[in-house]
């Protein structure tokens, strides 16, 4: 088994899974009906993408674990999601800034993965990219509307940007796993991905009248290696409860 590729697939699947779970928690609590539907639809897309990544991870591992076992029976240290997606829902500005930063990275990564040397990864990226494009258009649209909105919405959006920015750097810090994937032609290199991310974020922030955080700001890291904040454990406790309490239960 290619342990590094397995790890890389878990990272993709776990990012989508944890963000999907976070957005699902907002079901029925959206600030408007349209937003509620949007959040849950995006959550559904991400859950579908999770299944594709984790199914492949399970097959590659070859130990009989399927997507459900990987999602519901791993403990927090075995999760490989980035720290950004486990940040709390907070207010709506935080929800949308988190989504926009994630969507921007996700969009450019999926584009890069279209030419992956691993055909299955390229296919999953091709399928995901259409959905991710729609997500990014929506979150970019809302960042502009709320950033360049009222004094209050602007202040909340700027606070969210300043709060969440420190969790965005990890996506572009490549460790041995990422570097091995780049060397194999599986994943795109970090530098062009980072440049595309920064350029798009800067353009949207400019239109949204939001201040871009200074270059070289301190960035948190560790999620990709399984070092998570306390909150992820609580999130998993809720998400995994049924399978933990009633192992093997099915509809």
């Amino acid at each position: 088994m290619d342990a590094q590729k397995f790890d890389y697939l878990l990272r993709q699947g776990d990012n989508a899974l944890i963000l999907s779970q976070q957005l699902s928690q907002l079901c029925g609590k959206g600030p408007a009906l349209e937003e509620d539907m949007a959040l849950t639809n995006v959550a559904l897309d991400l859950l579908g993408q999770t299944r594709m990544w984790l199914s492949y991870a399970g097959e590659l591992e070859g130990q009989g674990r399927d997507e459900d076992q990987l999602a519901y029976l791993r403990d927090v240290r075995a999760f490989r999601n980035c720290l950004l997606v486990e940040q709390p829902n907070g207010d709506y500005a935080q929800v949308m800034v988190r989504q926009f930063l994630f969507d921007t990275w996700h969009y450019f990564l999926m584009r890069g993965l279209l030419s992956s040397s691993d055909r299955r990864i390229a296919e999953i990226a091709e399928k995901s990219l259409k959905e991710v494009t729609y997500h990014l258009r929506r979150s970019g649209d809302l960042v502009v509307r709320l950033g360049d909105g009222t004094e209050l919405s602007h202040a909340k959006m700027q606070a969210a940007v300043d709060e969440l920015w420190t969790w965005s750097g990890e996506l572009f810090v490549y460790d041995e796993t990422d570097q091995a994937m780049v060397a194999q032609g599986v994943a795109p290199a970090a530098e062009p991905l980072h440049a595309a991310f920064l350029q798009h974020v800067a353009e949207v922030f400019e239109e949204a009248t939001l201040r871009m955080p200074a270059a070289g700001a301190y960035m948190q890291r560790g999620g990709k290696q399984g070092r998570h904040g306390e909150r992820l454990g609580y999130l998993l406790a809720e998400m995994q409860f049924l399978q933990r309490a009633y192992p093997g239960v099915a509809w």
């Binding site: 949007a38 990219l129 239109e207």
Partner: protein, 181 residues
Amino acid sequence: MVPAVDTPTVTPEQVWAWLADVPDPEIPVVSVVDLGIVREVQVDGAGACVVTITPTYSGCPAMEVIAEDIEQALHARGVQQVRIATRLSPAWTTDWMSAAGRAALTGYGIAPPVQQVIDISGLAKDRSATFSRHAIQAPQVDCPHCGSARTRLTSQFGSTPCKALYQCLDCREPFDYFKCH
């Protein structure tokens, strides 16, 4: 005792025709063939049938129901061995929707997709455009009820992943729009 019967020999053409009668579980006026979900039908010498389908949206819960419906429909026609295979690439697009399917959607009150596939290069639109570069540009959709072109987007997402919500400014009716994808 149930007498043994020979498996009737089916042709892919027959299977395609049968599948044209399998409705989409969410939008029953269109078939899974109209939607472009069925990509390939293969029948081997022993009469076993492999139907290849492709998901519309990766999280669409209807896909499992569709796979079951196809299996049941073919069993009901006497095809004993049916296998459903899933194919991701090329990714499903609303461009594969048949003309009959599009007409059926309109008749059902859902505006069919208007553009060709969503433009994934759209994020790099011309800066000189007068509209906001990052604001959503809603496609112009005709009202499926009265035909008016004066409609507006009310929600980018609707009752299922594949739809958005619009309202007609003339007849005032809200309606679903099947997003291009």
